[in-house]
Symmetry: C2
Subunit: 139 residues, 2 copies
Amino acid sequence: MVNYQVAALDRTFAALADPTRRALLARLDEEDSLSVSDLARPFPVSLPAIMKHLDVLSDAGLIVRTKTGRTVACQLTPAPMEQAMNWLARYERYWTEQLDRLAAFLEDDKWQASPASSSNAVSKPRRKKSTKRGRSRTK
Amino acid sequence: MVNYQVAALDRTFAALADPTRRALLARLDEEDSLSVSDLARPFPVSLPAIMKHLDVLSDAGLIVRTKTGRTVACQLTPAPMEQAMNWLARYERYWTEQLDRLAAFLEDDKWQASPASSSNAVSKPRRKKSTKRGRSRTK
């Protein structure tokens, strides 16, 4: 991976490592554009503190600020998050494999329990085979 | 979201915001378990610096260290990454929508270009309809 991509990933993850910055991004996700004062309003944090957070988000390329007269408007530019998500996706198999093991355990349990229990034991909710795993994000 | 989850997400993203720490995780992804000295060997960084990075990764719950005699072994425990990935997944629609717009543009181009161009114009590679979008991570 070339160096500027490594540095970009550093900045993206560092920008996301703060709850106020994540909440600022979440607010900008709900609105097309917000002035700095409108954006800062719900936060129990001083305006200069918000401005510093916006600097970090802007340096990471996660927002853009546009000045019109005396008003600065902020917009979400979430493109750098894709690289972060791709980096994490390499590890996704660990938690999907955990679900596979859980599914396998429940399946085994069904077959082991069947002879000793009643024939309608498979109708118990905990024996229901999950087929939804790993598809929720592709909607 | 409860506070300990917020703090966990802060620690996960902060731990991932460093290229040496990401590379340490990538090495542990390739091996079941590695001693600290084996893990540190390929890095052009002092052992105390590696130890500090391992502290950050351990605090974030991304690795576990087990001491056997005088050897400390490290193992990857990537579970906290799932929460980070779920947080990012909320924004995934932005880049998949961008691909939708690109696909729509290429589709429009095909229909607009067809009457003026030769009848076999649709066989050009750039007019090929992409059907793979958004599925790469579900393999």
